[in-house]
Symmetry: C2
Subunit: 124 residues, 2 copies
């Protein structure tokens, strides 16, 4: 999806200012791959939903089963379960089966760090 579309009329915007060409080259050298951007945006997208964020924030405090999450969040089971599936699919939570119950926890300290830096940001 990159480096095609050569008739794009933005090709030489700003070319007159040749100092800019250097800056463009510098930043381009440091760019992650298209796949990495894509994975990273998928990862952040998971945080971009209040229900999932609530689940994450509760699991920062302690591990919980699905029904506890439903009760604490006042949400129906389908909703919580669906969001947990998305969180699982993105490796952000894991669970242990205990009888009929599933006890969920965060997989990773990064999840907690990002949540907390974000919270700090919106509170300042």
């Amino acid at each position: 999806m990159e480096n095609n579309n050569l008739e794009n009329n933005n090709e030489d915007l700003c070319e007159v200012f040749n100092s800019h060409a250097d800056a463009v080259n510098r930043v381009k050298e440091r760019m992650p791959s298209e796949d990495q951007y894509s994975n990273l945006s998928e990862f952040f997208k998971i945080f971009g939903n209040p229900t999932r964020l609530k689940i994450i924030s509760l699991l920062c405090v302690e591990d919980l089963c699905v029904c506890d999450l439903c009760e604490a969040l006042d949400l129906n089971q389908t909703t919580v379960s669906n969001q947990l599936r998305i969180l699982r699919a993105n490796n952000m939570v894991k669970y242990k089966k205990e009888g009929k119950m599933a006890r969920y926890s965060l997989t990773d300290l990064h999840i907690e760090m990002i949540y907390k830096v974000g919270l700090e940001h919106i509170l300042e």
Copy 2:
């Protein structure tokens, strides 16, 4: 939007296990407000788009004008400008007018931290 819907059939899920009620109370005490969750998820949503993420990652390296961003990202000006508007509206980038140009930079170190922790996460 919370604490209504009392005929919700999930009210007493798991009530039999009284140990769970304690856990539910503990985590509920620590929950941010509905508004804070909403603001926080809006904030993270901004990271959940590859174009915006690319812009953020380039501005982590150095400040750039709109046309440099267009060139480095091989995207048309409308797309970049629209995403910059969203980033501005969410206080994630700022800009200084320099003649006809607008030089953009990140507003905040939190933005860079979150980007970098996320990148670390998907690379591990």
